[in-house]
């Protein structure tokens, strides 16, 4: 059996640790966050509900649909939390109202948010996300 020197043993351990960390960082699930929106209630008698348009780039066309990648119908509630947004990205949101005939209003003014990792994410997710951001920052330098 081959005998390793102390230096070799140390390098092997460090190498294994680096590989483990790399695996952890690059195979870890994409961390996500949320955006909590609220707005004033509409008062039309035939009002029926709201739609939220959003995406990771600002409004680019007449709104609705405004060029947004996604939209969700949220009923007649005046607040909504959009989930599963990629942490680190900036998202842009506009809201419309629609009536019982299905007629839709124009879009509200646009609001945006840079999404951070959800507070209820696991410690590993938070750790790997922090390392990833560090590496990304160093790489850009």
């Amino acid at each position: 059996m081959r005998n390793f020197t102390l230096l070799q043993k140390t390098l092997i351990v460090i190498g294994a640790l680096v590989i483990f960390l790399a695996l952890l960082i690059f195979t870890a699930p994409e961390p996500t966050g949320t955006a909590q929106l609220s707005w004033n209630a509409n008062t039309e008698p035939d009002f029926a509900g709201y739609k939220i348009y959003y995406g990771d780039s600002p409004r680019s066309a007449n709104c609705p649909p405004g060029g947004y990648a996604h939209n969700i119908t949220v009923g007649n509630s005046t607040s909504h939390t959009v989930k599963e947004l990629s942490a680190g990205k900036t998202y842009y949101f506009s809201i419309t109202a629609y009536d019982t005939a299905g007629q839709e209003s124009g879009c509200s003014s646009e609001v945006s948010k840079q999404v951070s990792v959800s507070s209820d994410a696991s410690a590993v997710t938070k750790f790997t996300y922090a390392i990833k951001n560090k590496i990304s920052a160093l790489w850009k330098k």
Binding site: N40, N42, F93, Y98, D99, T100, G102, S109, V111
Partner: protein
């Protein structure tokens, strides 16, 4: 002779009165327009004010998406939905209203009135009924370009006759099933009774004699005599009149709080009817007399070249004779456009009587003015015209001139005060 004391006489009289009341009771029940039979002089139901909501109606066919954008047109007060029998009752006795429910919901949510034009003609009967060997049929060569896109021109079609008892009974059952589903819906204000149209639900029976349109395999012309086909099948005025009466009665009884209408056409052939309008007149006389408060006659082929009401003069054409019949019942009448004005060139300018060119706005403007000259309660336009922004001012103006109420089609305001965390 036996002489009864006065007290006995009184008792016998009371017993007789009681017995006659007991035996008369079921008869009285049977005469309340039950089972689609009304006793003489009896009229079923009544029509609330809304039965005759005046204005423009959009013809939305049987497809859910057709009328989605109609809701944005303030000049449209209602829709005409055309459910097809062969889509509703694909299995004998099993009725599916899902697609129609969706259409009704869209209209109802937008405050549009709903009228039905049930496609219960032999052509739109379900296959299981068309193929029933016990049903009497008519075999006829089709000459119409407008039956399922013209693909059937010169094809021989074998279809049930209206007056066949089995076909008629199934038709009544369909009307009854529709009643169960829709008669109590307050948005439904009108139903069309169709009895004498072979293809759609408004065109009457094809009865042309033509020796130019169809050719045999060698290219030789074939004489097509549609009227003779009907005679071969046993057509008589009385049979079609009887069927018409029964279908109108059945529809009136099934929908007691709605307006009942029938589309009228004229006859082309004296072998079938003594004059071009005798059948229409007989049916109109019957229906207007029996349902004076809620029957209205309609025609379904007004074009931009139909004669204005005050310009009809002798010698009358067949169309003018029918229009005069219609005019006599004004304003309790309805008019439908024969085709769309929008993109008329792609439809052979049919709404302009095939006169080229046929610019959308001008054709619709003229068609609406002619319609208004007859002072109708409803004017039915194709949904393509009801969703054409260019034509919207014309439809709004027409509904206002008819005394109809414009709908509020303002969309909601955009939400304000949006915050994000």
């Amino acid at each position: 002779m036996i002489v009864f004391p006065r007290k006995i006489k009184t008792v016998l009289f009371l017993i007789a009165a009681l017995l006659s009341a007991i035996f008369a009771w079921p008869q009285a029940k049977a005469s309340t327009c039950g089972n689609f039979i009304c006793e003489s002089g009896e009229t079923a139901g009544s029509c609330p004010q809304d039965c005759f909501a005046k204005g423009i109606y959009a013809m939305c066919g049987s497809k859910t998406n057709s009328c989605k954008n109609v809701v944005k047109n303030a000049g449209v007060v209602g829709v005409l939905l055309s459910p097809k029998w062969n889509e509703i009752e694909t299995t004998n006795g099993v009725y599916s209203w899902t697609a129609l429910d969706e259409q009704v919901a869209i209209a109802q949510n937008a405050g549009l009135k709903v009228t039905f034009q049930l496609f219960n003609s032999p052509y739109y009967a379900p296959d299981w009924l068309k193929n029933d060997p016990n049903i009497q049929k008519v075999t006829i060569i089709n000459l119409s370009d407008y039956v399922v896109g013209g693909t059937l021109v010169c094809q021989e079609l074998t279809l049930p006759v209206f007056w066949d008892p089995v076909f008629h009974q199934k038709n009544l059952q369909l009307i009854n099933a529709m009643k169960e589903h829709y008669a109590s819906n307050p948005a439904v204000i009108g139903v069309t009774a169709n009895y004498g149209s072979l293809f759609s639900a408004d065109g009457g029976i094809p009865q042309k004699v033509d020796s130019e349109t169809c050719k045999d395999a060698q290219g030789n012309p074939i004489l097509v005599d549609q009227a003779q086909s009907w005679l071969n099948a046993g057509y008589t005025h009385d049979k079609i009149f009887d069927t018409g009466q029964k279908i109108i009665d059945a529809t009136a009884i099934a929908f007691p709080n709605q307006a009942i209408s029938t589309y009228f056409s004229f006859s082309d052939d004296k072998r079938l009817e003594a004059s071009s309008t005798v059948l229409a007149k007989d049916i109109m006389d019957y229906a207007y007399a029996k349902y004076p408060d809620r029957f209205y006659a309609k025609i379904a082929w007004l074009s931009a070249t139909t004669t204005m009401a005050d310009e009809i003069a002798k010698p009358y054409t067949k169309i003018e004779q029918l229009m005069l019949l219609l005019k006599a019942h004004s304003p309790q009448i309805g008019i439908q456009m024969i085709d769309m004005a929008t993109d008329g060139a792609s439809r052979d300018c049919r709404q302009n009587a095939k006169i080229i060119p046929c610019p959308d706005y001008e054709v619709m403007d003229k068609s609406l003015k002619i319609s208004l000259s007859y002072n109708p309660t409803t004017i039915e336009v194709w949904y393509q015209d009801a969703t054409n922004i260019q034509l919207e001012p014309l439809l709004i103006d027409t509904t206002e001139k008819m005394g109809g109420s414009l709908r509020d089609v303002t969309p909601p305001s955009a939400p304000i005060g949006v915050t994000i965390n």
